[in-house]
């Protein structure tokens, strides 16, 4: 699975996700990637999120929207919301994976509970910051 989130100079957020799914999947199986609110979500009032991992768990937790809801209704920071969803809720249901997220202030989070996640981010004018492992 791949994905991206962005905040532009006008303060608009967007998210996108794309995938081939999981190897040896049943024909017709659909995971979280195309499900708005599960694997992809963006709202200028809160955050933009794109997920990757065990899709069925991300669907059952509405992971992407859950982060937006925690930021909006519980006033959690982006980091706190990501911590709760990726490091607590998803593992509780046996899920693994991660996500990239950005809030309306330009804070970025790239949490994952698996061994690694191919990831990167960059503000305008900065060198890209990329990583694979913890």
């Amino acid at each position: 699975t791949v994905g991206a989130v962005a905040l532009d100079q006008l303060g608009n957020l967007a998210a996108a996700t794309s995938t081939g799914g999981i190897t040896n999947k049943h024909a017709g199986r659909v995971g979280d990637s195309p499900i708005i609110g599960a694997g992809c979500y963006a709202n200028n009032a809160s955050v933009a999120v794109s997920c990757t991992g065990s899709g069925e768990v991300f669907m059952r937790t509405l992971a992407a929207y859950d982060i937006a809801a925690l930021v909006t209704y519980s006033n959690l920071s982006l980091q706190e919301a990501c911590q709760k969803v990726v490091m607590e809720k998803i593992p509780q249901l046996g899920g693994s994976g991660g996500l990239v997220a950005v809030d309306r202030l330009g804070n970025v989070a790239l949490p994952f509970n698996s061994e690694g996640m191919y990831r990167g981010y960059g503000y305008i004018g900065d060198a890209p910051d990329v990583g694979i492992y913890r």
Partner: protein, 184 residues
């Protein structure tokens, strides 16, 4: 003016540092940097967040290292079924496709649904027809295949289990889904 930023991912899983070759690691880092840089340039030029994520995901789909578009994993049946979605935080408009087999860049189909359809998600043949109406590039299903992904399929079939992103031969490690036989 906001502090514009782009963040991307290329999948997660059991990516063991010891088993990922130095050469392969360099390829991943280079691809990630290239795609982040492209997004930064677009945003610096006044481009929209929606255009930035569309471009980034299209480039990730074109890179065979990652599980989307070219380089996507195989189904149990030995072909590729692709899914994609996109959402605009300003308008709350969204678009998605699922189970498509011939659209070269599924993210462009999702974007076209966001912009030109009253619906949010189209699947299978309906999505393919819509993409054709939008004159999006169509490819044979084999276009998405790579030897590394086929090796992962063979391994998964032998084990009778499903394999998450970046857990197989391409990454050097193995991470299987629980043996719940969801593939039938």
């Amino acid at each position: 003016m906001c502090n514009a930023v782009i963040a991307i991912h290329g999948g997660a899983g059991a990516i063991a540092q010891a088993s990922l070759s130095v050469q392969k690691e360099k390829q991943y880092f280079a691809a990630l940097r290239k795609i982040v840089s492209a997004g930064q340039r677009l945003l610096a030029g006044g481009g929209s967040a929606l255009d930035a994520v569309t471009q980034a995901v299209r480039l990730l789909e074109e890179c065979p290292l990652f599980n989307a578009g070219k380089g996507a994993v195989f189904t149990h049946a030995g072909d590729h079924e692709l899914d994609a979605s996109i959402m605009d935080g300003f308008s709350l408009q969204a678009g998605a496709v699922a189970g498509v087999k011939h659209i070269r860049n599924p993210i462009l189909a999702a974007r076209a649904i966001l912009e030109h359809s009253p619906h949010v998600m189209l699947t299978g043949d309906g999505a393919e027809d819509f993409a054709e109406q939008q004159r999006l590039e169509r490819v044979e299903n084999e276009f998405f295949s790579t030897p590394e992904r086929f090796a992962q399929l063979k391994l998964a079939r032998q084990r009778g289990e499903m394999l998450l992103d970046h857990g197989g031969a391409a990454a050097g490690g193995v991470q299987f889904m629980p043996p719940d036989q969801k593939f039938g």
